[in-house]
């Protein structure tokens, strides 16, 4: 079980969090964004072997969506203590 560094609560068990996927640019809601813009944002992911910036929702804690960088190979968080 991962130990996730929450900036507010400190390192906490993964079971307190809900995964939010890799961070991505949110297409604007200006009526002009196309199907393709959203397809790219939603489905075209790099899924790297190595560091990935991702979101976790601390549902069992401070209810903050936190952004962390995790190495998908070693599970090490680059900003972990």
């Amino acid at each position: 079980m991962l130990l996730i560094p929450c900036p507010h609560c400190g390192p906490r068990d993964e079971s307190e969090f809900v995964y939010g996927g890799a961070t991505r640019a949110q297409p604007a809601l200006d009526g002009k964004t196309t199907v393709q813009d959203w397809q790219n944002a939603l489905h075209q992911r790099t899924n790297p072997r190595g560091p990935i910036e991702e979101l976790w929702f601390h549902s069992g804690g401070c209810e903050t969506w936190i952004t962390v960088t995790r190495d998908t190979l070693s599970h090490q968080f680059s900003d972990a203590p």
Binding site: L3, D13, L29, T33, W38, L55, S59, W65
Partner: protein
């Protein structure tokens, strides 16, 4: 206790423990395991092997035991497949042997040995191929009866279990010389230390060693070291605690089996450490030679352990076949102190040829250096081919072991990087106990420096102990590699020749290394056999995947106390106690315990539902709506936020009014529905369905925190703050007036889709929404949760004039199906567009919102998608089967035809006078009044149905505005 030595051993001879083996009374002492007590009572034959029913005894003195599996019965029931070497002896244990009939020493199954030449790997699958149907009914049953281990206890487990957590700087796994040394070093530097030991005794192999450690006999050194550790307040010492798995981020799971008559049978520990020192020691490797599985063949260190730790003579006359000369000498010395005659000691260049003895070893044959065959009468053969590091926990987490030619064993590989788990001592092949002390100290110093608890002292790490190269293996005859699974050398050869030469395939084809011991004594021998057979270097063959648990852990321990009503937390609504008084029957719905129906007298559920439905349609009912998610949305950007969140338009919503809202996912699929109420200029209250409350909340939080951080909106989850009771029925407005609110209740002053805030009787604070899920005139009365019972009292008191009828989930469902309202999980099932649900017209074209773009995808806009429709039986009376499929012919009888759609809900006895159903039907909106077949393969019947609008009750909504 015929074989108990008169002196020696770390057992309490002042107390006798009574137990039974296969019904026979036996005695032991505190400090014994079942194994040492059986041996003390002269019981060497303990088990029958899984496949050939060969007689088996006790090979080892630890968790690695492959053969001596038994069923142990105590006050908490029967536990099968325990190793006699792992269970501390307790009063009243009933130990029974397994896999034999009619009895252990005369087992009919032993006839299987006559066919052993046929029973190679894959035998069953190659042989019992025809007739095909006979496999399930006949062959599998016979084979399962003939082969196997103990039988599980299927009765409820009365024992108590618990789960606990611990945190520390340094977790030390294993309390031998290396572990004790590491724990002391770390503790003296100020680290918080947890030391776990699987055995009931602390000290590991130091307890049975004849070495001198730091000027003391090894057992004394261990006892002193443990005493010194117990003095330290920053150290927790846990015996009887098996660390069985290592997981991400230095997370170790362990199970403790308290032996102090504690009411708790097992405690599941979840330990998070900053550094882990793995000092789990090493396991001895037997030789592979004909008859090597006979009771009386025992690992040499196990022999020394039974003599020195338990004061038991495991035989009367012995032959010693130990590869390491020093250990050979030590074994002979131990045998002599126990008064066991040493009949022969094998030297380099000699070979073990075979053994005899029906149920116990009688003779051992070997070829001596002159090439002559010698036969020696004895009842104990002490074997040791070398040592295998217990690095399982290291290997479980993405780290590999690598075969090391010098040590002839798999050693932890150095993967580079920061090593947060450090194997020390025997676990990395360092066998000399003085060296183990040095190794533990050096590893602990390194961890202390990394944790900045100590300045860095670069102490040298001892090198792993080299193997002498001596082997007494013989390559002829029936020699067992894996005793637990009856895997012989010949089986491994056959697997290689049939092409199962990948190490993982060899394991699965032969079962080498499977079972409850997971090949602890057999794996390295198997690897060396494969290397010899294939000519490949052992380094290139590798190993199979190590997975937790290191040794079997009972499901009861993992579940802990989370059984029965404690399985999950239960949420009760604020009306729970009021409903209990009304005789409510509850049901679980997610986390909630929700009202299902309110039977009167001897009513059945169906009768109660019918009565409740009629009451709501004809007069008045009330229902709990508290479980709906309720979110308070405030701020200058609140309206813009909600406008982006929901797909329908409510830019014109006025203060005091509410709208239905339909929320899409980013991919255009319907996510949730609810109401949006405008309470003030920049103040809204939105609801989410019960099932989606937490996911909608998370979604809203993500949008505001991550995607649109510039929006000035405050969100508060007020779900638990409000108790909500809906009053529904033609008399709802009359009741509302009777409740004396401080605002006008006539239909002009308080129309449909509005909200009023105030008090009832000048005291009870309320927020009332005119909104309906039932299709009747309805008001949802919300009050702060603490007023719930007071509100319920008023409603029942004033509602009595109209026979107010409380109703539950069942009636709620019937009414919403009649009205064609949607339910999450049935109609909102994660695959539907608004148009599929008959709400295409609601989707705003005047604004952008979450899901707009991807809703335009061609597949979501295509013709022929399943659309929500209603169904009525053509004859007006036949109930439509649940989950039926729709077609234009009575289908499926010959497994042909195409389903045009399927039912999501069906009501057999609604208030309409005829059964109805809801269904997703291909192109449904263009099929009104068509006659189709609803077919249920489950009920094996078809019903002719007419397609109708999804809203069967009051389609114009006149009743809502009354």
């Amino acid at each position: 206790m015929t074989n108990r030595l008169s002196i020696g051993g770390q057992i309490d001879r002042t107390r006798i423990i009574d137990f039974t083996f296969d019904g026979q009374s036996m005695q032991g002492h505190p400090g014994d395991t079942i194994a040492s007590a059986l041996l003390a009572n002269g019981q060497h034959l303990v088990a029958r092997s899984i496949k050939y029913h060969r007689p088996r005894g006790i090979l080892s003195a630890g968790l690695e035991e492959p053969s001596a599996l038994v069923t142990v019965t105590d006050t908490s029931g029967r536990t099968p497949n325990l190793k006699v070497t792992e269970v501390p002896l307790r009063d009243g244990l009933q130990v029974t042997s397994q896999n034999n009939w009619p009895r252990l020493d005369r087992d009919a199954g032993a006839l299987m040995q006559l066919f052993s030449g046929l029973l190679g790997p894959g035998f069953y699958y190659k042989t019992f191929m025809w007739p095909r149907k006979a496999w399930h009914k006949t062959y599998a049953r016979i084979i399962r009866r003939a082969a196997g281990h103990g039988e599980a206890d299927t009765s409820a487990d009365p024992a108590q279990y618990d789960k606990r957590r611990k945190f520390c700087d340094v977790l030390v796994i294993g309390s031998g010389a290396a572990g004790l040394s590491a724990a002391i070093t770390a503790a003296q530097a100020g680290a918080t230390v947890i030391l776990v030991e699987q055995d009931q005794a602390l000290g590991g192999s130091a307890l049975t060693s004849s070495d001198q450690l730091q000027g003391q006999p090894a057992p004394d050194w261990a006892v002193d070291a443990v005493a010194a550790l117990r003095e330290l307040s920053n150290v927790t010492v846990m015996a009887n605690t098996l660390a069985f798995g290592q997981y991400d981020h230095e997370y170790v799971q362990a199970v403790e089996t308290p032996q102090n008559n504690n009411a708790t049978k097992a405690i599941f520990w979840k330990i998070r450490a900053r550094r882990i020192i793995l000092a789990a020691g090493a396991i001895e490797r037997p030789f592979v030679f004909p008859g090597n599985d006979r009771p009386g063949v025992m690992l040499a260190n196990a022999v020394r352990t039974y003599i020195r730790r338990f004061g038991v003579a495991p035989g009367a006359s012995a032959v010693v076949a130990v590869a390491d000369p020093q250990e050979r000498e030590d074994t002979v010395a131990a045998l002599r102190t126990a008064g066991i005659e040493v009949q022969g000691v094998l030297e380099d260049g000699e070979t073990l040829l075979g053994t005899t003895g029906r149920l116990h070893l009688r003779t051992v044959s070997y070829r001596n250096k002159m090439g002559k065959r010698r036969r020696v009468v004895c009842d104990l053969l002490c074997v040791s081919a070398g040592w295998m590091p217990t690095a399982h926990l290291f290997a479980q987490k993405d780290q590999r072991l690598a075969f090391n030619a010098a040590t002839q064993s798999l050693l932890p590989a150095d993967a580079g990087g920061l090593k947060l788990m450090q194997p020390v001592g025997g676990a990395r092949g360092v066998l000399d106990l003085s060296m183990c002390i040095e190794d533990g100290k050096a590893a602990a110093h390194q961890a202390m420096a990394e944790l900045e608890l100590h300045r860095h002292l670069d102490l040298p790490r001892p090198t792993p102990t080299s193997h002498t190269g001596t082997t007494f293996n013989s390559d002829q005859g029936k020699a067992f590699v894996d005793l637990q699974n009856d895997v012989t050398r010949r089986d491994i050869r056959q697997a290689q020749s049939e092409g199962y030469d990948n190490i993982e395939l060899t394991k699965r084809y032969t079962t080498l290394g499977m079972g409850t011991d997971q090949g602890k004594t057999s794996w390295t021998n198997g690897l060396l056999e494969i290397a010899a057979l294939t000519g490949k270097p052992a380094e290139a063959i590798g190993h199979t995947t190590y997975r937790p648990p290191y040794s079997p852990v009972s499901i009861g321990a993992l579940v802990g106390a989370d059984v029965g009503v404690e399985m999950t937390p239960v949420r009760r609504t604020p009306f729970h106690r009021s409903f209990e008084k009304l005789g409510c029957v509850f049901q679980t719905s997610g986390d909630w315990l929700y009202s299902r129906h309110f039977p009167q007298g001897a009513e059945t559920m169906a009768q109660a539902i019918k009565r409740e439905c009629r009451a709501v349609r004809n007069s008045l009912g009330c229902v709990d709506m508290s479980t709906l998610g309720k979110f308070d949305v405030q701020g200058p950007d609140a309206l813009e936020f909600l406008s982006r969140l929901y797909c329908n338009n409510f830019a014109t919503i006025k203060t005091g009014r509410l709208r239905y809202g339909l929320m899409l996912r980013e991919d255009g699929i319907v996510f949730d529905d609810g109401t949006i109420t405008r309470l003030g200029e920049n103040h809204y209250l939105v609801t989410a369905t019960t099932a989606n409350t937490s996911s909608v909340w998370r979604h809203m939080q993500k949008l505001l925190q991550v995607d649109w951080p510039d929006m000035n909106v405050d969100l508060t989850d007020v779900t638990d703050h409000w108790a909500t009771l809906a009053i529904a029925g033609p008399n709802a407005r009359k009741l509302l007036a009777a409740l004396s609110p401080d605002f006008k209740t006539d239909s002009d002053s308080f129309p449909f889709a509005a909200v009023r805030e105030g008090t009832l009787e000048g005291a009870l604070p309320v927020r009332i929404f005119s909104v309906s899920f039932s299709g009747e005139l309805s008001f949802e009365i919300a009050t702060p949760a603490g007023y719930a019972e007071a509100l319920m009292e008023r409603v029942m008191e004033q509602g009595a004039a109209w026979d107010i009828t409380p109703y539950g989930l069942e009636t709620l469902d019937v009414l919403r199906i009649e009205k064609g309202h949607l339910s999450v999980g049935t109609e909102i099932d994660g695959r539907r567009t608004p148009k599929d649900l008959g709400m295409g017209g609601m989707v705003s074209s005047k604004k952008d919102f979450i899901g707009r773009a991807l809703l335009q995808r061609s597949a979501l806009q295509a013709e022929g998608r399943g659309e929500l429709v209603g169904l009525v039986p053509e004859d007006g009376t036949t109930p439509i089967p649940f989950a039926a499929h729709l077609s234009d012919a009575p289908l499926f009888e010959d497994n042909s035809g195409v389903s045009l759609g399927y039912l999501t809900a069906s009501v057999h006895e609604p208030t309409l006078g005829h059964p109805i159903a809801l269904a997703f039907l291909m192109n449904g909106s263009n099929r009104m009044n068509e006659i189709l077949w609803a077919h249920s393969p489950v009920e094996n019947r078809s019903v002719r149905v007419r397609v109708s609008p999804s809203c069967a009750y009051d389609p114009n909504g006149g009743r809502l505005h009354a």
